[in-house]
Each structure stands twice: as C-alpha cells, then as structure tokens.
C-alpha cells in the first residue's frame, strides 16, 4: 500500500500544531479564531472539491447544505420545549437523554434537544434531501446542472429567509455550546479558544483522511474514469449514476457537518450562509486551488477565507478575489498548486535568493 498519499496530512497536522504554538508564544492567540472559522468553511470546500474535481459535477448550491446543517442544529437547540414538558414524546425524549436544560444569559430556562441529537438529525436530513434531489439533478449535465443546483440553493435560501421558525432575516442566535463528553466545548468563548481550534481542525483532518482514502479507492478510480468519459466508464461496468449520487450525498453531508459545528462555534446563523454568493465563492475557491486537487483547494480555502475574515483586503475583498480567480483561470487553469508551478516558483525564489547572496 502506498503510504505517500498520507504525507501531506502530516504536513497539515504539523502546520496546525506549529501555528498554535507560534501564536501562543507570540501572544497572538486571537489569530486562532479566524483559523477556526476557516476550518469549518474548509469542510464545504474539500467536500465540493471532491464533487467537482473527482466526480466532475458542478454545484452552485453547496452553501445550502452548509446552511441546512447549521439551521437544523440551530432550530433544535434553541426550540424551548418547557411548555410541552409533560407531552408524552417530550418526556420520553427527556428520559432517553435526548434533551438538555440550560439557562440563557437573560435568565430564562430552556429545555432543548441536545446538540448530539441535532448533529444526527442534521446529517440525516441533509442525506435525505441530497439523496432525493440528487437523483434527478445528477441526470442533468453542463449548464442545466449548474442551473438546477443554483435553483436548489435559491429555494433553500428563500425558505430560510421566509420561514418564521428560521428567524427570517435575523436568523437564529443564542445557540448553546456543543459539549463533547465534558472534555471539549464547541463555542466562541475566549477561554476555550485553543481546544476549539484543535477540535475544528481535528474534524477537517478526519474528513481529509476519509476523502484521501476515497479518492485512492476503487470508488475513486471509478470516479476519475467518470470524469474522463462517462460512456466508457459505463461500458466497463461503472454505474455512473450510483457513484455520482454517492459522492453528491457524501459531500452534502460533509458540508452540513461543517455547518453544524460552525453554528455552535459562532453561536448564531443567518440566511446569508445559504446565499448564492456564498455558493459561488466556494466554487471559485475550489477552482483557484485546482479542481482535482483536494490539497490545493484546502490551502487556497484557508488563505482566502483567512484574509477575508481578518479584513486585510478591506473594501477590495471581493475585487481581489475576482482578479485572482480570472488570473488563475488564464495562466494556470489547474490551480495554483499544479505540479509544474511549484518547480518554477521554487526556481524563481531560489534564483532571487542566490543572486542576492
């Protein structure tokens, strides 16, 4: 078995740990907040990269899955069940340990579903939705597929924006922390900054591990053959529809998991998360990183989201993003991290250094 494929994973882990150590020692621990947010957004990006790069299917509606995850947990963990406490189902849920009780900052007691249940429900809902719409949508090709996914994203956005239960335009706030066996708390608290950072990246590393194995498995080979030529793949016994649907649902669920944890981390969620512009941004980041390059997409996702979240680019954020996108498409359509580029950039840098020296 080829172990080489895991090497970048060690690199990623090294980067995560070193960044934390650096920031702690230099007293700049606040940088971890943005990097934690980047991690959750990365979930959507690597999921989308697998779908686009390896299964060759564009999705202009992936932000919707992120939002479905986030909103499911937001609704379930803020819905106050105290008025229905004596309802048979509620008390059954309560005795099964599905519910938890907390007091919000304004002194109101809230009995709500535990985040664990919310996570499970979010995954199931996302799976079901992506499965149901995946069957007809993935039959479409090219622009029709783009339109259909864009349309799906728009519908979800409208439903979230119009629904009373989803808090309409304000979204849902005051979402409790996600307490994992009392060891770890997913929340935005200052005190838990470092553990949150590691928790977020742990999830990303696990997902990457999963995806790498997928790409290098029989499924992955089938997928690449799909990307190359669907008819040829079909003739050697690869069922395109089944594989496409599998990757579509997997990538939807992964995006939703990112949404669930992001929502607990930031304590609220709004309809903007499902917007078309967000979906487009994810697609663009994947393209900049290189469509069939999951590592490239991850790295570019981190860099671009980090710069944006830190506000370095000010009011030129979107403009610079557009420039980068067009330039990459022009000069290196396989993404910045295409094998050839490395050599030339390295040579370029080295030649500069040595000339100066």
């Amino acid at each position: 078995m080829n172990k080489k494929k895991y090497y970048p994973l060690f690199g990623l882990m090294a980067f995560i740990i070193l960044f934390q150590l650096f920031s702690s020692f230099s007293g700049k621990e606040f940088l971890l907040i943005q990097l934690t947010m980047c991690a959750y957004y990365s979930m959507v990006i690597i999921a989308l990269c697998t779908l686009m790069g390896y299964a060759g299917q564009i999705s202009l509606g992936h932000a919707a899955f992120f939002a479905i995850g986030g909103y499911t947990t937001a609704v379930l963990t803020t819905l106050n069940l105290i008025p229905d406490k004596d309802n048979f189902f509620i008390s059954l849920f309560n005795s099964l340990g599905f519910l938890s009780l907390r007091v919000n900052p304004y002194g109101i007691e809230i009995l709500h579903f535990s985040p664990w249940i919310a996570l499970v429900v979010a995954v199931v809902i996302t799976y079901v939705i992506s499965f149901i719409i995946g069957i007809p949508i993935l039959k479409l090709k090219g622009h029709y597929l783009a339109m259909a996914t864009l349309g799906f994203g728009t519908i979800i956005y409208r439903v979230l924006l119009g629904g009373k239960i989803f808090g309409e335009a304000d979204g849902i706030s005051d979402i409790p922390e996600f307490n994992i066996f009392n060891l770890l708390k997913i929340n935005g608290d200052n005190a838990d900054r470092i553990e949150n950072y590691y928790a977020a990246w742990f999830i990303v590393v696990i997902s990457m591990l999963l995806l790498i194995n997928l790409i290098h498995s029989r499924v992955g080979r089938a997928l690449r053959s799909l990307h190359g030529n669907e008819h040829a793949a079909n003739s050697i016994g690869v069922n395109p529809a089944r594989y496409k649907l599998f990757v579509f649902t997997l990538s939807a669920v992964m995006a939703a998991v990112g949404g669930v944890f992001m929502t607990h981390f930031s304590g609220s969620i709004g309809p903007g998360e499902a917007g078309v512009l967000k979906s487009v941004r994810y697609v663009a980041i994947v393209a900049v990183g290189g469509m069939a390059n999951i590592w490239g997409a991850l790295i570019m996702g981190i860099i671009l989201n980090y710069l944006s979240l830190r506000g370095y680019l000010g009011s030129y954020d979107e403009a610079i993003f557009g420039v980068i996108l067009v330039l990459i498409m022009l000069f290196t359509p396989d993404g910045i991290f295409k094998a050839g580029n490395f050599g030339s950039i390295k040579n370029f840098i080295f030649s500069k250094i040595f000339k100066k020296a």
Partner: protein
C-alpha cells in the same frame, strides 16, 4: 378575485416576465456561438444602465442610451480579447468559473467607479406616475417599451442567425468549432463578435428596464439568475423560447403571489423550473436530439 384584479396580476406578470425575457435573450447569443453561458451577462445590463444614466446627464436620452450600448459593447469585446481568447482550457466548468470571476470583477469595478447608490433613467415616455388603463387594469408605458425592444431584438436576432452569412457562421462555431474552422470561418473573431453583440444587447436591456427596476452596482446578479433560468426554460439558444420562458415565469410568479406569501415567490417559480428540467432537460422549446448531441 375580480376580473380587473386578475388582469392586473397578468400585467404584473408581463412586467416581470418581459424583464426576465430581455435579460435571458442576451445569454443566447454567446451560447449560440460558443456553447457557453456567460455568467457575467447580468453585469452587462448593470453597465448599460449605469453608463446610460451617467451619459443622460450630458446628452438627450436616445444618444445617451446609444453611447452606453457602444461603451458596453467595447467592454464585451475587451473581455473576449483579454480573457476568453487566452484561456487554455475551454470546458464548460472552466467557462462557468471564468465568467463568474468576470462578473465579480465588473461588479466591483462599478462599485468603485460609481458608488453604492441606486439610480435610474427617466421614463422613456411619461413619468413615474403615468400609466395606461387597459380594460380596468393599469400598466406602465415603460413596460410597453421593454416589450417593444424585446420583440425587436428577438426579430433581428432570429433573422440574423438564420439568414445572414455571419449569423450562420456563428452558429456553426457552436456546433463544431473544428468543422467550422475547416470551412474557413474565423472562429475567434466570431466569438469576439458574439461577446460584443451580447454586451450591446445587455446594455440596451439594462437601459430600458432601468426606470422600472432601478440600477445599482450589484443589480446584475439577481437579474442574471432569472435571465439564466428563463433561457434554460425556453431551451438554450432559442430566443423566442427565452421570451416565452420569461413570460411563463413572470405569470407563474405573479399568480403565485395571489395565493401564497410574496416571500416564497422565487421558491415557487424555481421549483417549477426544476420540475420542468427534470421531466424535459432540454427546456420547453429545446429539441431533445440537439441537446443530446451538444458536448457538455
């Protein structure tokens, strides 16, 4: 529901539908030549609206609109010249992404050239409050302008693509670039021409809808999404289909308002669009055989 009220819903549907249609047509020109959808089409509308508003301060309205069309057409040609022509990969996925990038760029450029404020052209005939009474329901004269210009564009395009040598060459490029080249068609120039033409039509559309919709730097995206939807619904490449698609979606939306909350208008119309796509992926008026042959 009274009969006047129903008619008013129909008029409201036609108003929105004609806006969608005139946006949707623009997609077809580039599609007919290159087989790609230009996601920056909405920005051509925005640019057309913005420049004509700026010019209208110095020139009478028809000249201002004409100048805006020229300026936007040049932008369209430049886009092809600087970007599309130099692309190394020309697959659909890449084209979608590149035009998305261009749309972001044009939008941000407009934000920094003009500003974030909303503006609009004066009404072509009458003013903000004038309207025409038809059988007890009212419609703004500007809507008739949109319908008129939309019909002219469709007629001209149909003739152009069907009966002129240039138009046929452009369509040939879309079906098969290599074969077209072998026949002596300069496919690159045809693509430049298609970008110029579609930018010009976008600008004209942007100017004529501006009094109704108002123009702002980011108004292109939402217009383009609907325009794209009606182009797909009508069958890509089919201008008459796009108009029919526009009116269908416009009417569906306005009738949905009469029974459902307005907030779900888009959700309703797009759900129906998706259903149609699932049943008939080539759109209402697209031929299945043709779309099967197209290399997506």
């Amino acid at each position: 529901m009274s009969y006047e009220q129903l008619l008013q819903y129909v008029f409201s549907g036609i108003t929105n539908g004609s806006i969608y249609a005139i946006t949707g047509i623009g997609f077809n020109i580039i599609y007919n030549t290159t087989g790609i959808i230009n996601f920056a089409q909405g920005e051509f509308l925005m640019l057309g609206g913005m420049t004509s508003i700026t010019f209208s301060r110095y020139f009478p309205l028809p000249i201002a609109v004409a100048l805006a069309v020229i300026v936007t057409a040049i932008v369209g040609a430049l886009i092809d010249f600087l970007v599309i022509r130099n692309l190394k990969k020309q697959s659909i996925l890449f084209m979608i992404i590149v035009t998305i990038g261009l749309s972001i760029l044009l939008q941000e450029a407009a934000l920094h050239i003009w500003d974030e404020k909303v503006r609009s052209l004066p009404f072509f005939t009458g003013d903000e409050i004038s309207s025409i009474n038809i059988f007890g329901a009212y419609i703004s004269p500007q809507v008739l302008w949109v319908v008129l210009i939309c019909s002219i564009i469709v007629a001209v395009l149909t003739v152009f693509f069907k009966y002129t040598a240039t138009g046929r060459s452009m369509r040939a490029c879309s079906s098969n670039v290599i074969a077209a080249r072998l026949c002596g068609i300069n496919s690159k120039n045809m693509i430049t021409l298609s970008f110029t033409l579609s930018a010009a039509i976008g600008a004209l559309a942007g100017a004529v809808v501006s009094p109704i919709t108002q123009t702002q730097y980011d108004c292109g995206t939402s217009l383009a999404i609907k325009g794209f939807a009606v182009a797909i619904l009508g069958g890509l490449g089919n201008s008459i289909g796009a108009v029919a698609g526009g009116i269908v979606i416009g009417l569906l939306e306005s009738l949905s308002i009469s029974i459902l909350p307005l907030a779900y208008k888009d959700a309703v119309s797009i759900s129906i669009l998706l259903l149609i796509l699932f049943v008939k992926p080539s759109g209402l008026f697209g031929k299945k055989e043709i779309s099967a042959l197209k290399d997506f």
